[in-house]
């Protein structure tokens, strides 16, 4: 029975990793940009939500709602003012710029919020659980997983059933031709990064409510997100969820064997998938 329990916990943890990964996947899919500051932006959003809770006395959900437009604006600005300037055939400039941003953001957060670990208080919900007969699951992990599924359905709906989504797909396929049809790629990119930051805020909310965080943990979140995207295969959000679940299950099983092996087991699962399926489990995009 204990193994079933570990399996379920791992699957639910995968929901959190899918939330980390969706923003990364979105931005890469549309503009072939890997944002190395993605993890640090999640931590920034978590501090924003925390400030809403501690300084303004809001509930975490309302604080996240307040943080959403702020993060959207930040993403839009980041893309319009910085990243659009370095996008091009050469992958080096965007990589180095986002890496510089990552280090700057991490140390800026450290200076402002100190290295103390913090947590977004959620009251009774924190320890609440649901008895499903065979296993008992926490309400919070369950909500995280459900949110990940709702978010993927929402993003897929946006992508395949709206004019904006059509513009996203057109720009992704061929930015020059899309430009001829009256789409302005740079404006589309700015909106896409803004939306990615909305997803980041949702990820940050659950990250901060479920566990302690501090300014230094951003890069590790980036790595989990990246592994989920690669395992799932580029261009498929459901694949990303599957990738997150594989990392999550590997981590909980690793931790059950020896707490020191938790993170290592996740990485090894990633390397094993890379060995067997270099293009991921459900590849859609080519590159």
């Amino acid at each position: 029975m204990i193994w079933l329990d570990i399996l379920v916990q791992g699957i639910l943890l995968g929901g959190l990793y899918a939330l980390f990964a969706a923003g990364l996947s979105l931005v890469f899919g549309i503009m072939r940009l890997v944002n190395l500051a993605h993890g640090d932006l999640i931590i920034l959003a978590a501090y924003l939500v925390l400030m809403g809770v501690t300084l303004l006395g809001l509930s975490p959900w309302i604080a996240a709602l307040v943080a959403v437009p702020v993060m959207f604006a930040l993403g839009w600005l980041l893309q319009a003012a910085v990243l659009n300037r370095v996008l091009g055939k050469d992958i080096l400039p965007p990589l180095l710029v986002t890496f510089g941003l990552s280090v700057a953001l991490q140390n800026g957060l450290l200076e402002v919020f100190s290295a103390d670990s913090r947590r977004i208080p959620v009251g009774a919900l924190e320890g609440a659980s649901l008895d499903l007969g065979l296993v008992t699951v926490g309400i919070m992990p369950l909500m995280t997983f459900a949110s990940a599924i709702v978010m993927i359905i929402g993003l897929n709906g946006l992508f395949y059933h709206t004019a904006l989504g059509r513009a996203f797909r057109a720009t992704s396929d061929d930015a020059v031709t899309a430009g001829l049809m009256g789409i302005e790629p740079k404006r589309i990119f700015a909106i896409a990064t803004g939306i990615a930051m909305v997803v980041v805020t949702l990820a940050a909310l659950y990250l901060g409510m479920r566990a302690n965080f501090d300014p230094s943990i951003g890069p590790a979140r980036l790595i989990y997100a990246f592994e989920a995207v690669i395992i799932g295969g580029l261009g498929s959000l459901w694949g990303t969820l599957a990738g997150g679940i594989i990392i999550g299950v590997a981590q909980t099983f690793g931790a059950a064997l020896n707490p020191e092996w938790q993170i290592l087991a996740g990485h090894i699962a990633f390397l094993a998938v890379m060995l067997l399926k270099p293009r991921g489990l459900f590849p859609r995009a080519v590159d």
């Binding site: 890469f28 072939r32 940009l33 890997v34 190395l36 910085v82 300037r85 370095v86 992958i91 080096l92 400039p93 965007p94 990589l95 180095l96 710029v97 890496f99 510089g100 941003l101 990552s102 280090v103 700057a104 953001l105 991490q106 140390n107 800026g108 450290l110 200076e111 890069p219 590790a220 980036l222 790595i223 990246f226 592994e227 690669i230 020191e260 993170i263 290592l264 990485h267 090894i268 990633f270 390397l271 890379m274 060995l275 270099p278 590159d287």
Partner: protein
């Protein structure tokens, strides 16, 4: 009548002045204080790492964010040689290069499956895996790390001669030895890269950098080229890591596999100085050291400033500070570009 040449007047000046610089640097410990020797050791090892990363990213197009894997494994292999095998620390340094070379084979195997930007994070994952595995190595202190034993540090090859030569105490003599080894390493790495760029391999690298398809069409084996560059860079990085931790004589997984120290700082040095040139990292390391000294009292603001400067340089001067200088007056201290010389064609096209 027409000849291909890489010769420039500035290059000739470098060829004459470089040996003078090296001899002066060798003699420096006779007059410099221990603090200066330690600072120079730091500058030289960072410069070595910067030149290597520049070879990878600037010439080879391999943007690795996982070089700390090779620094760490090199340092740990040196410690293993001393503690487990009882080797003299200086003789254990090559073990660091060898271990990094061995680790580079599976790393390249995995990371080369990832295209472009994903390669960067792929190397980072491997570095994390290596760090987590080494932290399980209980004989070398596990997660908390260990120190070189007293008997080993007091009998390092060559320190006795340095003590009598300069009349120094043991710890200071060890710093001088480390400094000389760092000097030898930086000269070998810089000289080696310069030679590489002027060789057939360098021509192939430049061709791949400028246009992969065109390079392949004239017979450049891009896959083999990437392997060669990656393995050479890993071995040299491992040697540097072993040397750095020979000087500190203390190791822990956190310090040996630090992404900030061994990759972020190195990337900033190369970007600020100028990527894709040998002069760039040299200029970059001087700027880096000046900033570090000036902002030493401001904690994390220093790294934040460094990151932001790198972003600004990338946005407004993508070829770095050296790029600005070179574009003004065409200065190339380490010319590697092949130019055609001969009589000027009059009139015509």
């Amino acid at each position: 009548m027409y000849r291909m040449t890489t010769h420039t007047r500035a290059g000739a000046v470098t060829a004459i002045s470089a040996p003078i610089f090296i001899v002066a640097a060798l003699a420096l410990p006779a007059v410099a204080s221990r603090g200066v020797v330690q600072d120079l050791f730091f500058i030289l090892t960072m410069l070595t790492l910067a030149q290597i990363w520049n070879l990878l990213a600037g010439y080879g197009g391999l943007v690795s964010v996982g070089q700390q894997a090779f620094v760490g494994i090199g340092a740990y292999a040196m410690f293993a040689g001393v503690i487990l095998l009882g080797w003299n620390p200086v003789l254990a340094i090559p073990l660091g290069g060898l271990a990094a070379l061995v680790l580079a084979v599976p790393t390249a195997f995995f990371a080369f499956r990832l295209q472009g930007a994903y390669f960067a994070i792929g190397t980072w994952v491997i570095a994390e895996v290596t760090r987590l595995l080494v932290a399980q190595w209980k004989a070398l202190g596990g997660g908390t790390g260990t120190s070189l034993p007293r008997e080993a540090t007091s009998s390092i090859l060559g320190t006795d001669a340095i003590r009598t030569l300069f009349g120094l105490r043991e710890a200071a003599a060890r710093d001088v030895l480390a400094y000389w080894l760092a000097l030898a390493l930086v000269v070998a790495v810089t000289g080696g890269i310069y030679w590489l760029l002027r060789s057939r391999l360098g021509l192939a690298l430049a061709a791949v950098r400028d246009n992969v398809d065109a390079a392949q069409s004239v017979g450049v084996d891009t896959g083999r080229l990437r392997w060669a560059v990656f393995l050479i860079a890993a071995a040299a990085t491992g040697l540097t890591g072993a040397l750095v931790f020979l000087q500190t004589a203390r190791i822990s997984p956190g310090a040996a596999f630090a992404v900030t120290d061994w990759t972020a700082n190195v990337i900033f040095i190369v970007v600020i100085g100028g990527i894709g040139t040998i002069e760039g990292p040299i200029l970059g390391v001087l700027v880096f050291f000046a900033l570090r000294s000036a902002l030493a009292d401001y904690g994390s603001w220093y790294l934040m400033t460094l990151g932001l400067i790198a972003v600004v340089v990338m946005l407004f001067a993508p070829k770095g500070l050296w790029g600005l200088i070179a574009s003004r007056n065409g200065l190339h201290l380490f010319p590697a570009r092949r130019r055609l010389t001969g009589p000027k064609i009059e009139g015509g096209i």
